[in-house]
């Protein structure tokens, strides 16, 4: 069995998740602070989540195609973007970014505003507030966003096949490999890939659940200790 779809999928998903991680946090931070046009910006960032992936792929082709500005610019450096491995990464980033952005934004907005106000009145700079107060206190949400983005990037199909194609050994991911196998009537190969995709996704979700449970237990333990402290005071 040729393992290249697995390797390409994992490589794509990992790199896409790293990019999404930074972009998503930046976008969330930026939108939360916006005073005007917040709704519009939010809609633009969320759109790839609700649009059919083929539409996203179509837009990417418009953007990076040979006749576009960016495409021409890249071509002048002898780079063809469409049907390259990089295109699978960009497709995965675009479709997984909304998940990262939304979960992170939710986590940022859940932080008690008073904590941020307090930091400001205590003279702490905005940059320091972001890195040392906002981010550490929304770490749980940020990590949930990372895991969701990773699974979404791993399962990406529609936009990838439009913009990166389905070239074995170059751009063929597990999702597109299943498609090819089924089209060729090779059910056995299709089954193998399906099994692998299901196993990886299942493992990641289990990891997320385990981690959530652990987090809850830590919080509960801490609050129990706190109750102990209060009962000492009352006595």
């Amino acid at each position: 069995m040729n393992l290249s779809p697995l390797i390409i999928s994992l490589k794509t998903a990992f790199l896409a998740t790293v990019i999404t991680f930074f972009l998503g946090i930046f976008a969330a931070h930026f939108v939360v602070k916006m005073k005007r046009f917040q709704g519009i910006m939010d809609a633009i960032l969320t759109l790839p989540m609700v649009l059919p992936p083929t539409v996203v792929g179509f837009f990417l082709l418009l953007f990076f195609g040979k006749n576009s500005l960016i495409g021409k610019f890249l071509l002048s450096f002898d780079i063809t973007f469409v049907f390259s491995w990089e295109a699978t990464v960009v497709a995965a980033v675009v479709v997984s970014l909304p998940l990262m952005y939304r979960t992170t934004r939710g986590a940022f907005e859940q932080i008690d505003k008073n904590i941020i106000y307090a930091a400001r009145t205590l003279g702490v700079s905005e940059t320091k507030i972001f890195w040392r107060v906002i981010l550490p206190n929304s770490w749980y949400g940020v990590m949930a966003g990372v895991i969701l983005s990773f699974t979404r990037a791993l399962g990406e199909f529609g936009a990838t096949i439009m913009v990166a194609g389905n070239i074995p050994g170059l751009t063929q991911t597990m999702s597109t490999a299943i498609y090819s196998a089924v089209q060729a009537g090779d059910n056995e190969t299709a089954f193998q890939w399906v099994l692998i995709v299901v196993m990886i996704s299942f493992a990641v979700i289990m990891l997320l659940n385990y981690w959530t449970k652990n987090q809850n237990e830590i919080t509960q333990k801490l609050s129990k200790k706190r109750r102990g402290a209060i009962s000492v005071v009352v006595r």
């Binding site: 008690d112 106000y117 009145t121 205590l122 003279g123 206190n137 919080t219 200790k225 000492v232 009352v234």
Partner: protein, 346 residues
């Protein structure tokens, strides 16, 4: 150390229109919830922006709408103690304090050791806020404010989320903390007893405006306004009409009352505190009381009375249990001492 505030801000339902000055003292902003107390503090701290006006701390201009000055909260040096203390949950006690100290690592260590000692936090340095009791959290929040070298302290309802036992402990701690702090302090509350115990002067707020600013003794003796009278806990209030210079007619109680103070022409309300009724026969303002209802409270009786034979709104009378039990309840003559009557113009 003095704070000067003169600001306006539209809040939808009503407009905030605040003007006051505070020196090195504890000044209370007393008002019902939703009257704009917290918004006032937030404007001073720079968290919210007023529409117009000036905020000045000593000679330092924090906000001036005309000169387009609006310092960020970081540069205002205004300490804000939040109701939930707002400690950074991801940092230990020591880190919470060190985080706000400007300067080198040595400066931070020095400041932390000093504040830990000052606020009796020894042994708690490496605990996280969730592991602390309410009182300990309050002390950390205070230590943090002092470590950041603020010039003004603002306390936003620091006890309102606590049960009465814990509240009393924290209040005592706060009183001693304020003694060490010795700077201008604004204390926001809706609890008249708390305010009376902690503060020197009281500003009564209603719907975004400051009604009166008085020392606490002046305010509780003659609250002057309806809002002030209600907030200082006066239970009996009636509309009033002037009869002559020393007599008013309390319309809702159907009583003509002689008053020690001069009655002004535009008197609108008359008030009388529930525990100031007297039995002395020679006094003025005596009426035969008809008992409408008797309610037994924890340590007193609350008796609702009105002039016999009338259909007036009952007055609330509070007295100790023994005193009530020893009374002849069939023939009751009560008097309203003329020097205890509160007159209000608005």
């Amino acid at each position: 150390m003095s704070l000067y505030v003169d600001i306006k801000k539209s809040l939808g339902d009503f407009d905030l229109n605040i003007k006051f000055e505070a020196n090195q003292e504890v000044l209370a902003l007393l008002g019902a919830s939703g009257c704009g107390k917290s918004m006032t503090l937030k404007c001073i701290a720079g968290i919210e922006k007023p529409d117009y006006g000036i905020i000045k701390l000593d000679d330092h201009i924090l906000f001036d709408s005309e000169r387009k000055i609006n310092l960020p909260p970081q540069k205002r040096k205004v300490g804000y103690l939040f109701q939930n203390y707002a400690l950074f949950p991801n940092m230990t006690v020591a880190e919470n304090i060190a985080f706000v100290v400007q300067g080198s690592k040595q400066d931070k260590i020095k400041a932390v050791t000093e504040k830990i000692k000052m606020f009796c936090l020894e042994g708690l340095e490496n605990l996280y806020p969730v592991q602390l009791s309410g009182g300990q959290q309050q002390r950390v929040a205070f230590a943090r404010i002092l470590a950041s070298e603020t010039k003004l302290l603002m306390l936003d309802e620091p006890f309102s989320a606590l049960d009465s036992y814990l509240k009393w402990q924290l209040e005592q701690e706060l009183t001693s903390l304020l003694e060490t702090y010795q700077r201008a302090t604004l204390f926001v509350s809706h609890d008249r007893d708390e305010v009376y115990r902690i503060c020197d002067r009281i500003a009564v707020m209603t719907k975004g405006n400051i009604d009166v600013i008085r020392t606490k003794h002046e305010l509780f003796e003659s609250p002057e306004t309806l809002a002030g009278t209600i907030l200082t806990g006066c239970k009996n209030i009636s509309t009033a009409k002037k009869i002559d210079d020393h007599t008013v007619f309390a319309e809702e109680w159907e009583l003509e009352l002689q008053v020690e103070h001069l009655v002004s022409d535009n008197v609108q309300y008359v008030g009388f505190r529930a525990h100031f009724f007297s039995f002395a026969q020679k006094e003025k303002n005596i009426f035969e009381a008809e008992i409408v209802r008797v309610v037994e409270d924890t340590f007193s009786f609350i008796v609702m009375v009105r002039p016999k034979g009338s259909n007036a709104k009952p007055l609330r009378w509070e007295l100790e249990k023994d005193q009530w039990r020893s009374l002849d309840q069939t023939k009751l003559f009560l008097s309203i001492p003329e020097d205890k009557i509160i007159l209000m113009k608005k």
